[in-house]
Symmetry: C2
Subunit: 508 residues, 2 copies
Amino acid sequence: MNTDVLQKRIRLPELREKVTSPEAAAEYIKDGMKVGMSGFTLAGSVKSVPHAIVKRAATHPLKISVVTGASLGNDVDSAMANAGIMSKRAPFQTDRTLRNAINRGEVMYVDNHLSETGEQLRKQQVKKVDVAILEAVSITENGEIIPTASVGNNEIFAETADKVIIELNLSYPLEMEGAHDIYCATHFPTAVPINIMKPSDRAGSIGIRIPPEKIAAIVITDEMDTPSQNLPPDAETAQIAGHLIEFFKNEIKQGRLTESLRPLQAGIGTIANAVMSGLKTGPFKHLTMYSEVMQDSTFELIDAGMMDFAAATAITLSDQKSREVFGNFAKYKDHILLRPQRISNHPEVVQRLGLITINTALEVDIYGHVNSTHVMGTHMMNGIGGSGDFTHNAHTAIFVTKSVAKDGLISSIVPMVPHVDHTEHDVDILVTEVGLADLRGLAPRERAQAIINNCVQGEYKTMLQEYVAEANLRGGQTPHVLEKALSWHQRLYETGSMKDEVKLTQVA
Amino acid sequence: MNTDVLQKRIRLPELREKVTSPEAAAEYIKDGMKVGMSGFTLAGSVKSVPHAIVKRAATHPLKISVVTGASLGNDVDSAMANAGIMSKRAPFQTDRTLRNAINRGEVMYVDNHLSETGEQLRKQQVKKVDVAILEAVSITENGEIIPTASVGNNEIFAETADKVIIELNLSYPLEMEGAHDIYCATHFPTAVPINIMKPSDRAGSIGIRIPPEKIAAIVITDEMDTPSQNLPPDAETAQIAGHLIEFFKNEIKQGRLTESLRPLQAGIGTIANAVMSGLKTGPFKHLTMYSEVMQDSTFELIDAGMMDFAAATAITLSDQKSREVFGNFAKYKDHILLRPQRISNHPEVVQRLGLITINTALEVDIYGHVNSTHVMGTHMMNGIGGSGDFTHNAHTAIFVTKSVAKDGLISSIVPMVPHVDHTEHDVDILVTEVGLADLRGLAPRERAQAIINNCVQGEYKTMLQEYVAEANLRGGQTPHVLEKALSWHQRLYETGSMKDEVKLTQVA
């Protein structure tokens, strides 16, 4: 390759000798190892060496445990799942092939809170990482590794692994140097406060510092991240955003918020992204973000002059937005910081900053317990991600969902969720396209009324009212008819619909 | 009363004029008000004015919303519940009469995380407190209010209420001055780190500082707190403690812990107290505690020379231990600090200190989801208390429970808990008298094997193995047979037992 490029991208001369092929790098990965890989919600994912590992597995016995930041892109998760080389995978994924392998019980999937995966490694509470494979923009003259579009757990993998393999990705602009804030939180027993009082505060260095001799191999790549496939905002996400804007306006009026709100966190995916995008129509100024991922909506708000600063651990964009942002990186560099996920999701900082958190629920029950992960209570969709990190510690914890799915065959509001990721203790506000339920300060029986009256409509509203009436006859703080509590899901399992066809027929 | 005592206990002269009768003080409480009352797990509970309020309600229409630290003692909760004067109650209670009123739906009970009740008041997200009624040991020359055996939410009630009524309790030794550390966490948007790096660090003042003119009335009392009724350790709690000691010994051997472990937190009640007491037989030194409540076991460990320091928000003791501790307070004063519950349970400090948390589960499911609160998923027992605050942020989150209840008619390990307070994401270790399941780094299917193999015995073990086998046929990350998932609870509801009598008969 071009020597000039190599000199600019690997500025510590001795490391240039480590440049090698993906196949050669893959030989460091042995059967039974635990491998840490960079990548967070498709961003900054390793792209080359894992495919070489898969190829190698065709001729060598190879089962490995893989730990990442979050979901990998560039077909890495699906290639590894297809090849059957993963015994274990943590945390978060969004890949259909891997998901199916998980749900067949072939891959043991550990669905950590994203702030905790690295921490468990540092506490030595889980098996250590043998080899880390990390994507980088460059390596500085001091040997600092500059991550790409995500930091994730990279600094902890680099710290705790025996060997580090670098995928040096030339497709990222070198101008990304300086866009990261790598603060390694101090650890028991000498932990000290994290020095972040607002999203833009710098606490660490621009790169990951490890002894250069730990770097075993460097592989050159130039593939971009897999773009996000978020659907564009639609009528219902616009309605959800509208309800939220009204809510915020009233909070401002009541003196509980200002026009800059609080630092915002928003979950990954179509709905949360569309809702954030919808905030553009609100009367807000000087917004900030402290989140795990910047999506298209983040840059739309920055471009609209409504958002001053965004800090996260990853930048996950559509193809179009990716070209805009990475093609004009200087324009955004002063408005963003990329941090380790241990810091972007850290309970201490989330509490101190007082975030407004907006996450997507798969389904919610009448008392406000949220299922974020398990279809029918059993089959993994993606994972809890950072939603627990943020929701537990939020100033105001908001969940959004469309009130129905699959053309109305599924109600997102159910009597009892068959899997709980967020308890009623942590859920402040629920918004559907129907309306908004403000659950703050309410007891469960009051929460049920607020949710059913504000967030549900049509036959499901009637069905839930009937359920509550029957449950109340049995009494309790959180009334239920146990033998009917999961009947909606059973009906869905048996008939493909939560609708009570018998009752509908009787009515008709 | 004795003028000399009054001068020692109310050292700001102008406040002595505020001394009045409970009946006169009760007149400040009007229909529809929200009243903040001191009291946390029976400790430092208001004792006099609430009974005068109840008396007054016989002749005046009176419905109030009551917010506390946690459970009140001295029959206050039962008297108010019996009189039907509470429209709403938050957070935590342990009173049978109140519990029944809650479960009949007569009292709207808001079961907050204990770190959040006061925070919601400060954020103005819930109705403000009109009048605070706070127990005190004394009021200093500077007008600082010195709390008694608990701090709870007192500093926030005092700060946010329009008026404050003091119950000056002469039964507490004046030597308690200096045993409190009243740090009022700074608030959005100017929050700064909490300056606590170890349990003994002082961050605040010895008393609560409010403008003296806010104090509307002072009532003199001399009744002690209701003693705790913890049962003594038994064979099963000793076995649980034994399993934990073995676990800790191995953690020390593996280099993950030292002989001082990490600061300990333990939940209120018989089992957690007995388990803590059982740690006396372990090879530990220089233990510390950072918890919400000091129980008999705390002082046993201090007396045994094994615990150097304990910080909490309340001291809740048996009658005997209470006489020992408050009768010899000087002996313990340098070993303890009482803090606001916002600080004792604060996510930031809990994370930084890296606590080992030990809380009691009502029941646990095979995947490690914990129900701490709801009998049969519907009827409130006590409340979540601080178990969420601590478990979310622990270094190692441990839950303890006996494997069966009611002479074996109820299994504490079930296929699916009908109410979730703590999710599998947050539960590291489960211990019953049968054994210990180390769930760290395990996927749900692995968790089920660890729990069933280590924590269950007899027919329930067989029944759970059969359930898992059937569930696995349906697949999923967290396999379940939805129509049978809550069948154990339904059987209990219908027959008074979780045992599968049909199957047992067949076997016999």
